[in-house]
């Protein structure tokens, strides 16, 4: 029964976006990728949620600026386990064109484990959808791990 539930769970990834000081380019791509009928991520069971408490897959964009750092980490803590993070764009991993800027500190992966990285400035919608699918793979593995450790 638990096994079945874990198998089913991977087919309902609910997506939450965090903007960690992004220039909005990746956010526009994310809204385009997951919201318009053309790419229809709902067929994968995805749903955008407004609340971090409902989220399974977190899409993070932007180079964690100093001003939003604490808030991003706080929102990240509010997401219930098991959760998977996807870094959208080059900024979360390297800082992108904002690297070494006065308002940018250490990269996101110093604070939050990044499971999937979708590079690009901004990445294409198809790439973001593929990133979400890969994140679902990571999530499934995590659920099964959890199952093993429980039993």
């Amino acid at each position: 029964m638990l096994n079945l539930i874990n198998k089913l769970a991977g087919r309902s990834p609910w997506i939450y976006r965090i903007n960690a000081g992004s220039c909005n380019g990746c956010d526009v791509e994310m809204a385009t990728a997951a919201l318009i009928p053309r790419y229809d991520v709902e067929r994968l069971g995805c749903k955008y949620c407004g609340s971090p408490r409902h989220a399974d897959v977190v899409l993070i964009s932007g180079p964690l600026t100093l001003r939003v750092r604490d808030k991003v980490l706080r929102v990240y803590d509010e997401i219930p386990h098991p959760k998977v993070t996807v870094a959208v764009g080059v900024c979360p991993v390297s800082g992108g064109c904002f690297r070494d800027g006065y308002s940018v500190g250490a990269n996101i992966d110093h604070y939050i484990p990044l499971d999937v990285i979708v590079p690009g400035c901004p990445p294409r919608p198809q790439a973001i959808i593929e990133g979400v699918l890969k994140a679902v793979g990571v999530w499934r593995a995590r659920l099964e791990e959890g199952l093993c450790s429980h039993s």
Binding site: N6, S12, P37, G45, H54, E78, P80, P82
Partner: protein, 319 residues
């Protein structure tokens, strides 16, 4: 003894309990699928709501430190229980006639606001500002749609005039329609039919009336702080509420059974609920956006209530 067994069967298996849950999840899935097809998308599988609930069971339950934990945990259970009781009272034409004395519009009038109460309790207990906003919006919309609902209930009751037993009992209303034809086609009742059909999206919060749980505006309001199994209970509550509301409107407007015994009537009943859902919820929410709170409130007071009252007056004068 047999009456106790019967009541237990009605609550746990049919028409409440398992049947209501299964039908509710099926209707929710059809709603999402048809909406997707209307938008030229593939859409999720019809059993997607079941997957969502299975998923939510694997998630962690987080409770805000500032929340009132007891009320926070109790709210979804309260809403679901209320709706399961209501679902057990709903008659299915040609299959089940409801509980004598309890399948009554007066009882349902008290049971129907329970999910909204659950959501208000949830919004208040979660200690989140968005929760409180959702609380006040839920209450405003509820006050607005209760009035046309009561007026249409009365119009239906006066029109059917207690053909068999008490005026407000559902079995009497159904018996009248089986003899005299469905109220759906009764010209006197047309305004009330319109009011009842608008009541469905109003109470389910879809389309124009997605006011209390507006996810892009107040982040799903009362549900904002809920996660994991408790959120799953809220989803089940919403699914059973959909069944109750649709079955109620079907019983009031078009409960006529077809020849062919119990299985055929069961399919006929589900088909009627599905058709009503597609018209009043799916197409409606595909075609409309959200109203502001005050606009939603005014909509019910200005358009829906007068419609129901016109039917009531006509029904009284033509008695």
């Amino acid at each position: 003894m047999s009456s106790i067994l019967e009541a237990a069967f009605a609550t746990v298996v049919f028409p409440g309990g398992l049947f209501a849950l299964a039908l509710g999840l099926f209707l929710k899935g059809m709603d999402r699928k048809v909406l997707a097809r209307l938008q030229r998308r593939v859409g999720p599988p019809i059993y997607q709501p079941v997957i969502d609930i299975a998923k939510l069971l694997t998630k962690e339950t987080l409770i805000p430190t500032t929340a009132n934990e007891l009320a926070f945990r109790l709210a979804p259970v309260l809403g679901l229980t209320g709706m399961l009781v209501a679902a057990a009272l709903m008659p299915v034409a040609g299959v089940w006639n409801g509980v004598t004395g309890l399948s009554d519009l007066l009882v349902l009038l008290y049971l129907l606001p329970i999910p909204a109460m659950g959501l208000m309790l949830a919004g208040g207990a979660s200690s989140s500002p968005y929760g409180s906003l959702g609380y006040s919006r839920e209450m405003a919309v509820m006050f607005a749609y209760e009035m046309p609902l009561i007026a249409s209930f009365l119009a239906v009751a006066v029109r059917t005039g207690g053909a068999a037993g008490p005026m407000l009992s559902l079995s009497g209303i159904m018996a009248y329609q089986i003899h005299h034809g469905a109220l759906l086609l009764d010209p006197v009742m047309l305004p009330a039919v319109a009011a009842l059909i608008v009541f469905i999206p109003g109470t389910m919060g879809s389309g124009l009336f997605d006011i209390a749980e507006a996810e892009s505006e107040i982040l799903e309001g009362p549900l904002l702080e809920y996660s994991g199994p408790l959120l799953a209970v809220f989803q089940l509550m919403s699914a059973v509420k959909l069944v109750v509301v649709l079955e109620l409107v079907v019983a009031l407007l078009c409960p006529n059974p077809i020849p062919g015994g119990v299985p055929a009537n069961l399919v006929w009943h589900v088909g009627k609920c599905l058709l009503l859902l597609l018209v009043s919820v799916t197409c409606f929410r595909a075609a409309t956006g959200r109203l502001r709170v005050d606009q939603g409130f005014a909509f019910f007071l200005k358009f829906t209530s007068p419609l129901a009252l016109v039917s009531l007056c006509l029904a009284i004068t033509l008695r």
